[in-house]
Amino acid sequence: MFLQIDVPVPREIPLPLPLPEWLLVFLLIVSFLLHIIFIHLMVGGSLLTLWAQIKGLKNKDYDTLAHEIAKTITVNKSLAVVLGVAPLLNINVLYPLYFYSSNALTGIAWIMIIPLVIVAFLLLYLHKYTWETLSSHKPLHITIIALAVAIFLFIPLIFLTNVNLMMFPEKWISIQGFLKALLLPNVFPRYLEFLGASLAVTGIFLVWYHSRKAYPIEKIYSTFRREDLKKISYAITTFGLSLQILFGLIVLFTLPSKGISYGVLGLMGAAGALLLYALWYSYQSLVQEGITHLKKIVVAMAGFMVLYGSSRQLYRHNALEQHQKLVALRTAEFIKLSEEARTQAQSKEQSSVPQSQAQVLAPKSQETHSSIGQKVFQQYCAACHKPNERLVGPPISEMTAIYKGNKEALKKWIVSPGKKRADMPQMPGFPHLSQDELEEITNYILSFDNPTNP
């Protein structure tokens, strides 16, 4: 499957990794898990704010619940962004060419993440700070959060499309734009699984949030008691976990086989078992009054995240292993060739020095303009100046006419020219030429006066 004519093998960045690979992988997994927890809280939180606020049209207490959740998003979304920098950094170090390739292929959608997230964040602030002002214009107020939620629902798709595409270099050739990459198998199941996880994580966060002893529920809500809020939070968790398990299974079955190994299956199986465990206790806490299994569920979900994150990393590793070998070989091959060419060019340069000296000493060059002067002129001036006709600037013959017998003025002009002619662009200065080079160039230019010249 791998040895195909259409699978590109780019070159790796020829610099060593800054840390041992295992450590970078570890940092990638850990920092990504931290990032994704807050992303879940941000996406799930906004989604639930919208849901609660719509319910709040009929029951005032749900509106209060929406407000309470909305307040937490400010913190969670800021942490989500800042915690996202480290995984971005790590993936840039570990898989630059895969990541950059998928970025480039979905370029427009990828860069749109930035303005979209900015708009979503500003909408969130607008929503939060106009709670009182817009309390008599609920539909408008709900529209603001709905827009933010719509953006938040779209952005994970771009991310998932990218991290999915980077694992399949054999697909790159078939991708023209984001939409094609979006349609690769496995993107949508993973997306729905992600949404389930967002609800589950936010649900369990709300269980904790409402169970805090210092949280004055009686002051905030008019009819909701602590037990009601516990029920709502566990219902969200149970629903989220069920979604997550359902789509997790679909992800497993649609996963392209190339990265699957017993290790991946083992990790995913164990992760799935933990999730089932969490679901069971979440359901128990939901149906039994006064009973809560918060700790068990949190531990199981954290364990799930570590195992699942590791299984994804292992899958990526397996999927890219063969290709990375080819990349390393091609890079080594290129570095060797480049070195060869470099040494060859250097030795050529050294051997060519005596040659040019010999040319200078050749007797016939005394009569015509010196070949060194011509060489220097070719290098610096010929791109814009021809002997007898205008190119970019005026022809040499004109210069000769102007500066005849005034070599120093010509030198001065070359070092720092002004603008004389309205119909031509200004000449750049050449302060970097040495005195010898200036001498040669000016001699060459003024020698055009000699009638023996062509």
Binding site: F2, L3, Q4, I5, D6, V7, P8, V9, P10, E12, I13, L15, P18, L19, S78, V81, A86, L89, N92, F99, Y100, N103, A104, G107, I108, W110, I111, I114, I118, F121, Y125, P169, I173, S174, I175, Q176, H323, L326, L329, R330, A332, E333, I335, S338, E340, A341, R342, A345, Q379, A383, C384, L391, V392, P425, Q426, P428, G429, F430, P431, H432
Partner: protein, 490 residues
């Protein structure tokens, strides 16, 4: 390769980066100490039995809210945006820099987390802290910690930016510290710090005219303090600017291997001098008027000063970017993303052969235009657009030289391109061989005639160089390894 044929790839990074600098300097690095200082003034202003002057405190809080909302959305995301856009436009350079500066960036990230947590604490606990003097004092302390953290994030990133302009002796010894303490690090930091303070002051002034009631005592006092703040930092900013202005040519000399002297740079450089003078004058003027005639300061007075200071920051960043050229990483990688040390190979065998994504490797008379397009993508597209109306379009730059009224001459363009780096020292040398040069100029002429655009990989997808497909790499390796095994690079 990702390519924006109208906007220009580099322009994309520039827009995001300048936006980030605006927000970061004026609303974080400079603004937090300004706000904390004013919060402290509120406590001093308070009466006997008060913790703080609550009307005053409320206005300062409102100012902070603006900073909080904008830094945590626009500021944070435009920072991430620099990463995103650089990875799209300039993958090999950002990839290399991350490998060298990984630890620096990792530390930057830790400081950054601290900064975000502190700003959340500082802003979100503001009102709650007003219940006792002890908690208010602690809150003000948090403000100072946050100021320090904001400044540190800038101090680290300036090291990384400074390195890209002038690697010092990094090329000989590729280590982090070496790159960090490069010759323009200190001048840049000494210039940026007071400049951030001044921009924050000007923003603060503008906000004061919005939030504080007209003709109130609070407003006059607030404007007066802000004037003092601006005046205090102005001489430091001027000194920093002069220092920086003086080391820039030396840094550029080290970078370019030939001396200063491109016309564009000199123009910008001269312009910058007037901008420094102008900005200094504006901030002194604003400072003095705010102190002597605070009741005269209105929104319509503050806003133009606000715009002037930002124009200055913008032009400064433009010059800073420009002095990097022709390199993107001084002495190591040109702005076309090709490493200097690979040039002999490209010159000898041509560049297309080594491109991973190209439809042409052998140039013939029939595929010349297509080959030219691939050469353009590989060597010019990071800075030039193909479409005639694009920013810095290749046809435009040649027509500016040869005149737009006549067809471009291939021979002249070829002669120009092979020597351009000698005359226009901000241009990297053309990396390809003669045949590729021929194809390139044929393509440029074709562009002038047809007005064709060049789509990037984000819409057109990729074509794989058959020479570098998995199949041929694997075959090639198995052939050579039977004779002499290639060692893996890892």
């Amino acid at each position: 390769m990702f390519h924006l044929d109208w906007l220009n790839d580099r322009f994309l990074i520039a827009v995001i980066a300048i936006l980030h600098v605006f927000v970061n300097h004026s609303l974080a690095v400079g603004f937090i100490p300004y706000i904390t200082w004013l919060e402290q003034k509120g406590v001093i202003r308070a009466g006997e039995n008060q913790i703080t002057d609550s009307a005053w405190d409320d206005i300062i809080y409102k100012k902070m809210r603006v900073a909080f909302i904008l830094t945590t959305s626009l500021g944070a995301m435009s920072g991430v945006g620099i990463w995103f856009s650089a990875a799209l436009v300039s993958p090999s350079s950002i990839g290399s820099l991350i490998r060298v500066f990984f630890l620096g960036w990792f530390i930057e990230w830790l400081v950054f987390i601290t900064e975000v947590i502190l700003i959340l604490i500082y802003y979100l606990t503001w009102k709650a802290a007003n219940t006792s003097l002890r908690s208010k004092v602690r809150h003000i302390k948090f403000g100072w910690y946050l100021s320090l953290a904001s400044w540190l994030t800038m101090a680290i990133i300036v090291g990384i930016l400074g390195f890209m302009m002038d690697p010092g002796n990094w090329n000989a010894d590729k280590t982090l510290l070496n790159g960090f303490f490069n010759p323009i690090y200190l001048p840049q930091l000494l210039f940026r710090t007071p400049t951030a303070m001044i921009t924050a002051g000007v923003v603060g002034l503008t906000l004061a005219t919005i939030f504080a009631k007209k003709h109130s005592e609070i407003r006059a006092q607030l404007i007066k303090y802000t004037g003092q703040w601006i005046l205090f930092w102005t001489p430091l900013a001027i000194a920093g600017a002069v220092y920086y202005w003086n080391v820039m040519p030396a840094a550029m000399k080290a970078n370019m291997s030939i001396a200063v002297g491109t016309q564009e740079f000199v123009q910008y450089y001269e312009l910058l001098k007037y901008f420094i003078l102008g900005a200094a004058f504006v901030s002194v003027l604003v400072g003095i008027i705010s102190i002597l005639r605070p009741w005269k300061v209105s929104f319509s007075f503050a806003a133009p000063a606000f715009l002037a200071i930002f124009a200055f920051l913008g032009i400064f960043e433009r010059v800073r970017e420009f002095i990097r050229k022709p390199y993107i990483i001084g002495g190591y990688m040109y702005s076309n993303l090709l490493r200097e040390e690979d040039y002999p190979l490209y010159k000898r065998e041509g560049i297309l052969k080594f491109m991973t994504y190209t439809s042409v490797t052998e140039i013939t008379q029939e595929n010349k235009i297509e080959a030219g397009r691939e050469v353009f993508m590989a060597t010019c597209s990071r800075c030039h657009t193909a479409h005639q109306n694009g920013i810095n379009s290749i046809v435009y730059v040649f027509e500016r030289m040869y005149g737009s009224d006549k067809p471009l001459d291939e021979g002249s363009m070829a002669a120009y391109i092979s020597n351009m780096h000698n005359a226009r020292t901000y241009m990297p040398p053309f990396p390809g061989n003669d045949k590729e040069l021929e194809a390139l100029v044929a393509y440029i002429k074709h562009l002038q005639q047809t007005g064709e655009a060049l789509p990037g990989a984000q819409t057109a997808g990729i074509k794989v160089n058959p020479h570098h497909s998995a199949l041929s790499v694997a075959r090639r390796i198995s052939n050579t390894s039977s004779q002499q095994p290639l060692t893996l690079n890892k």
